[in-house]
Amino acid sequence: MKVGSTGKGKKAKTDATEPIWNLRLYVAGQTQKSITAFANLKKICDEHLAGKYRIEVIDLVKNPQLAKGDQIIALPTLVRKLPEPIKKIIGDLANTERVLVGLDIRSA
């Protein structure tokens, strides 16, 4: 499942050189935690990264072999693939402040 919002010109201040945020959310099935996490992520991204993020949701129940690659243990896990370096945030992303810090959107 891919959710993208890279719409051009949605926000005028978006610089052409500014990177696209490539985020990956690992979940296991449609659990309450998965749904909450996705909803929280979507909200945060729309608020802070509007127009320059892409969310990839990976359901490990369907693709268990993918867990190894990103060293997934806890679920849900959000991985910031881009921009580098890779960042990981685990949990249902209920604490927006911490997510912003974790994603380096806002310094701690």
């Binding site: 690992y26 296991a28 490990l60 867990a67 997934i72 243990i73 806890a74 945030i89 974790g102």
Partner: protein, 580 residues
């Protein structure tokens, strides 16, 4: 309906294939359940788990998953290689699957509720991929370090162990020793079926590894601390602690290599499979006696394993050449094998393991350790005794004749061993130096020899170019003399004996002379007596004659007196006649 006897549900066990472990666990780890293996850093937890997997895959056809939380796959592969297994090859053959779980706390931000389903999924997919029956989690405690929410980790661990049980895999979970708990994070709380503690301690700069089964629910198990070691063959646990005393015994006798020594044992030598100890102070010929015994075994076509703790094989071969033993030919023939090692090279357990390994490989009939006293350099006396007890039991079970030498010190007394193993010994020969008259000689005697007649004599032990010889020692006059003193004493004694004989002869002659003198005296006395007797007879005769003469003269007088009138009796008669 026939009532069936109620079957006792026996806990199914999963053989580990680790040397000795299946003996002490009576069959292996609990099948389909997790086992906790804990211990301090470097105690061999990972290797233990690794070997469990490898043996499972290679020997029991049970593929396994190795989930490592600490080591990278490259390090893991290196560790496998050190045990002689090619991890990559096994992975490609679908026997082993590995998964390196990497958690770095600083790289992870925690926001809100989560679970460890990802771990379950990874493990599950690895198990499914190779149809694994065995699982290793090494060490899952890393989760506590990697994740800040310990409550979640604990809950998830509990779930994990239930999940493992439900999957029916036999799992090993490793854990680092904690201060008060068995493991730092109290993993023993979750793994209730079987807990094994590995211990690694250093005494007197020599490390020993020990294994103990702390608990094993639903099964009996050995409760002791078992020494183990790790070498290129993997883990070896020494289960031979209580072999019991029911080994077979032989009545066959084997030569000692010294005919006169055989003679001291009823003329037949030692029992096959018995344990012989030769103790003595330095330089009394222990090694020579041991080498002679080994030589005799090889002459019979038997194989002999010779453990030398003091000398190199070539040095023994050279030195024994000086007493006419050509050991090299037996080495070449493959009948004699030397193994030289410094006792302090490694711990006692390692020595015992080496003994075992070589005995298994070489299958000797005769086994020599020269000397056992040096083993105390590798452990305490009690440990040495324990090791030797186990070794001797093992050798007896295998009916291997054992020849031990022991260096004793005069201060501690000759008739004891530094290792206090005298009760384990069947035949005990004591060699001692006898110093006298500026000379040092060797004496040999049999202190004990179970189940056979044996000489109680001290023999002089002589090393010649033709080998060992025993000579009856001089033991007269309450003295023990050896060497030249004995020779001198013997010569002196012969002279003294001769003198004695002469003296006796002289006395005999003297006595004869006395007897003759006495006889002459007796003859003279007898002559005198006879003479006297004759005289007495003569006097008696004369007296008789004189008496006769006297009587005659009286009669004559009487007759004379009858004719006279004046004689009163005659008058009276006359008067009577007148009156009538």
């Amino acid at each position: 309906m026939v009532k069936k006897k109620r079957e006792v549900v026996v806990l199914e066990k999963c053989p580990t294939g680790i040397k000795g472990l299946d003996e002490i666990t009576r069959g292996g780890l609990p099948q389909g359940r997790p086992t906790l293996v804990c211990g301090s850093a470097g105690c061999g937890k990972t290797l233990f788990a690794m070997e469990f997997l490898m043996r499972g895959a290679m020997q029991f056809g049970e593929p396994g998953v190795f989930m490592t939380f600490e080591e990278t796959p490259e390090d893991l592969a290196k560790n496998f290689i050190s045990l002689g297994f090619d991890l990559h090859d096994m992975e490609s053959r679908g026997l082993i699957a590995t998964d390196h779980v990497y958690i770095e706390r600083t790289e992870i931000e925690e926001t809100g509720a989560y679970d460890l389903e990802g771990l379950f999924i990874r493990l599950g997919s690895a198990i499914d991929a190779i149809k694994a029956k065995r699982v290793v989690l090494d060490t899952i405690e890393a989760l506590f370090a990697g994740l800040s929410n310990a409550a979640i980790v604990r809950a998830e661990l509990r779930r994990l162990f239930h999940w493992l049980k439900a999957r029916g895999v036999t799992a090993i979970v490793t854990g680092e020793s904690g201060d008060r708990l068995l493991t730092r994070y109290g993993l023993e709380e979750y793994v209730a079926d079987c807990v094994i503690l590995l211990d690694f301690r250093i005494d007197a700069q020599i490390s020993t590894r020990r294994l103990r089964i702390i608990k094993y629910r639903g099964s009996s198990h050995g409760a002791d601390e078992y020494p183990f070691l790790i070498d290129e063959g993997g883990f070896s646990i020494l289960p031979i602690t209580s072999l019991g005393l029911d080994y077979p015994v032989a009545t066959e006798r084997i030569a000692t290599g010294v005919p006169k020594l055989d003679a001291m044992f009823d003329g037949k030598g030692f029992y096959r499979g018995s344990t012989v100890l030769v103790s003595g102070t330095a330089g009394t010929g222990k090694t020579s006696l041991a080498a002679t015994f080994a030589d005799a075994a090889c002459r019979r076509g038997e194989r002999c394993l010779y453990f030398a703790f003091e000398e190199s094989p070539s040095q023994i071969v050279r030195n024994m050449g000086s007493i006419g033993l050509d050991l090299n030919r037996w080495v070449k023939k493959g009948l004699l094998r030397f193994h030289s090692a410094r006792p302090s090279l490694y711990g006692l357990e390692m020595h015992l393991l080496t003994f075992h390994k070589l005995i298994e490989q070489f299958a000797p009939q005769v086994f020599v350790i020269d000397p056992i006293s040096n083993l105390t350099a590798a452990g305490t006396a009690a440990e040495v005794k324990s090791i030797l007890t186990r070794l001797i039991d093992y050798l007896k079970m295998k009916q291997i004749s054992t020849f031990l030498t022991d260096l004793t010190h005069l201060q501690s007394g000759l008739e004891r061993t530094s290792e206090e193993i005298s009760s384990l010994i069947d035949t005990w020969i004591l060699l001692r130096a006898i110093e006298r008259n500026g000379e040092r000689n060797r004496g040999l005697y049999v202190l004990k020899s179970r189940g056979m007649d044996h000489s109680n004599q001290i023999q002089e032990f002589v090393l010649t170019h033709q080998g060992i010889d025993l000579i009856d020692i001089y033991t007269g006059l309450g003295e023990v003399l050896t060497g030249s003193a004995r020779v001198a004493q013997e010569a002196g004694e012969r002279a003294a004996e001769l003198a004695c004989r002469r003296e006796a002869e002289r006395r005999l002659r003297e006595q004869e002379r006395k007897r003759k003198a006495l006889e002459t005296k007796i003859a003279a006395l007898r002559a005198a007596f006879d003479e006297e007797t004759e005289e007495v007879h003569l006097i008696a005769d004369e007296e008789r004659k004189r008496q006769a003469v006297h009587t005659e003269s009286r009669l004559a007088m009487a007759r004379f007196r009858e004719g006279k009138p004046s004689e009163p009796p005659a008058k009276r008669v006359k008067k009577r006649g007148k009156g009538a």
